[in-house]
């Protein structure tokens, strides 16, 4: 049985080789319908990709239909490359997969003409070719998704890094403006960077501003309390600022105890308190001058 498969595939390779030009032309015409994006990719580039695909397919199909086999390595690599480029250019998954699937019609036409008088051999070869092309198409889609996931993961990591800046407001006063939802992983990063900054700058007061935190549930409150407690253990006071009315209501309804933590409505209130605690005071000079004049 295995030998017949090999024979059939060898004939697939020979069919492709014999009718390369007509298959290629028909394939390109097939793709020029809904799935070709002339705005994203040049005609000549696509033509090059198609030609390369056909050559690699002809070479690999001689060894069997197992796409994971070593003979298919160059073909797989090429599809991976195509998927990655198409993710960056903004193709949809459908458009990317159709690159492989749209070869079916021209290839089947060629097979039909080659096996004109033997319907059994034709059906068998069509089946094996369908299987082969399907698995190649699925592989392309998988590669497409993988490239996408990579992009998402990298962006997530970037966001994690970017979203936890610790800023020094005054000598001995730090602020940590939080933006976005707090989950366990982010809180860990926030906590660590705040505590490190406290040690580095020798700050006695840290203000955690939650103006940019959309919702505070029990988990988020727990994380905030942990951060405050850890800072206290190191000898720094924490003030939570930017508590919106909605969040204040939620906190009370959830029965979260924030009594041990100083909370302020705005960052400026918190900053005023921090200055007072550190022994600084402000004098507004321009007002006094006006009164003197």
């Amino acid at each position: 049985m295995a030998t017949t498969t090999v024979n059939q595939n060898a004939s697939l390779a020979s069919i492709i080789e014999r009718r390369r030009e007509s298959i290629l032309a028909e394939w390109l015409r097939e793709m020029s319908g809904a799935t070709r994006r002339s705005d994203l990719m040049k005609e000549s580039e696509l033509q090059g990709q198609c030609g390369q695909f056909l050559d690699l397919l002809a070479r690999a199909s001689g060894t069997g239909t197992n796409v994971q086999a070593a003979a298919y390595e160059p073909l797989r690599e090429m599809l991976l490359d195509i998927s990655r480029v198409r993710v960056q250019k903004g193709f949809t998954p459908r458009e990317t997969a159709m690159f492989v699937f749209s070869i079916k019609r021209p290839l089947f036409t060629a097979i039909r003409e080659a096996h004109g008088k033997d319907p059994v051999a034709m059906a068998e070869q069509m089946w094996s070719t369908t299987e082969l092309l399907d698995s190649l198409g699925l592989y392309t889609t998988e590669a497409y998704l993988k490239s996408r996931e990579e992009v998402i993961r990298r962006q997530q990591e970037d966001m994690l890094e970017l979203s936890t800046p610790v800023v020094k407001l005054w000598e001995g006063i730090l602020a940590l403006p939080l933006i976005g939802t707090l989950d366990s992983a982010r809180t860990q990063v926030v906590m660590e960077s705040l505590l490190e900054a406290i040690v580095q700058t020798n700050s006695r007061v840290a203000i955690i501003d939650i103006t940019g935190v959309p919702t505070v549930d029990t988990v988020v409150a727990q994380h905030l309390l942990k951060t405050v407690t850890a800072a206290r253990l190191m000898g720094a006071d924490c003030i939570i600022s930017g508590v919106r009315p909605q969040i204040a209501q939620t906190i009370v309804h959830l029965g979260i105890n924030l009594l041990d933590v100083t909370t302020k409505a705005t960052l400026s209130d918190a900053f005023g308190l921090a200055m007072h605690r550190s022994g600084f005071s402000f004098i507004r000079s321009d007002k006094k001058e006006k009164r003197d004049n």
Binding site: E196, N202, R232, L233, M234, G235
Partner: protein, 130 residues
């Protein structure tokens, strides 16, 4: 046997933990410190743990205990220089060390002790002097 030195500085006692704490060492420190407080009549204890890198729940509880015992013996306790990693560990273990006062460094800790001693003296003698 290994011991952690307790230094006397006027009315205060200074403990600097420079080695990794193990349970027996912690118990010895607790004994020594309470003895020294009652011997010297110290009014404040400063424990510097800035070199302490590893902490477990036992050491955490011991720090809390020492603070409570000093309180009973009429001395304030300040723990200074806790590292971020240690602080996070203690919080994750659920030990917030309530009742223990903390400061960033020895300087800040001594300020804290002096201020609280002054406040105690004021409360005790202030009205009589006036």
């Amino acid at each position: 046997m290994e011991r952690i030195p307790i230094l006397r500085m006027g009315e205060y006692l200074l403990v600097t933990i420079q080695v990794d704490m193990h349970d027996r060492l912690a118990m010895t420190l607790q004994d020594d410190l309470t003895n020294r407080i009652s011997e010297t009549g110290a009014k404040g204890v400063l424990i510097d743990i800035s070199s302490l890198e590893i902490v477990d729940s036992f050491i955490g509880r011991m720090l809390g205990n020492i603070a409570s015992m000093s309180r009973v013996l009429d001395a304030d306790t300040v723990v200074v220089g806790m590292r971020p990693a240690v602080a996070i560990t203690l919080v994750e273990l659920g030990m917030s060390l309530t009742g223990v006062r903390t400061a960033l460094n020895v300087d800040a800790g001594m300020d804290l002790l002096r201020n609280s001693l002054d406040a105690r003296k004021d409360a005790l003698y202030g009205s009589r002097i006036q």
